[in-house]
Subunit: 119 residues, 2 copies
Amino acid sequence: MDLIFHALADATRRDIVARVLQRPHSVSELAAGYAMSFAAVQKHVAVLERAALVSKERKGREQLVSGEVDTIARAQELLRGYEQLWRARVDAIDALLAADTSADTSADTSDNSDQRDRK
Amino acid sequence: MDLIFHALADATRRDIVARVLQRPHSVSELAAGYAMSFAAVQKHVAVLERAALVSKERKGREQLVSGEVDTIARAQELLRGYEQLWRARVDAIDALLAADTSADTSADTSDNSDQRDRK
DNA sequence: CTAACCTACAACCAAATGGTTGTAGAACGT
DNA sequence: ACGTTCTACAACCATTTGGTTGTAGGTTAG
């Protein structure tokens, strides 16, 4: 997972991912689009490949680079999990507030409010 | 965006994010959970703060660190955009295949296939 | 006031990153 | 067979990163 996010933490690499998701590109085809040496682009592709965000496939003398959407989905699910953690916290606060505003009708509300701060 | 993904490319920092999304923690409270010095955890928090993934708020002599869910949502949307690019490509291929199998009925299908490889 | 605690920041160090150039091997066109 | 093209990899360099220790400033407790 470290590899995935590290690979995405660079604008050039994100641009490469966006390109090869639309259609496979050869390495030199990709390199032509950036103001840096061929070897530099090659290294960026290697970083993406190490993170399984792209895959290379020999096609004659050139190497076709394609995007791996499954890996992107995995990263997305992790972020979604974080959002869920946050949502659970907000829901707990809301429940607490709701119990507070209707405290005059029910006698004791402390019996069901202690399962939210469990570690 | 570089800052966000770079900040998430470390297991310790991701763990910190998960913790403070559930409830705010002080820096020393966070540092107690990891096998490294206080200053190291402080640096990790600084990286997360620079990426706007967490925010600090003075509370007496300690500093409360909270998670910023909006920034997480922004990163998630970027990944979702990548998935959309991929999906558009697959749809185009499907359309191409569908046109291919029914090619004997329609004469030419190449007139509307040139707006997808624009830069 | 003094001691203990939480935080901030600087200096330092080993290792990784992001770029360069150069060399070398395969595959293709003529 | 030969030159060109595409790719891989090594060596090198400047900068950043992730960790350490040490010092110093505020804030709370006694």
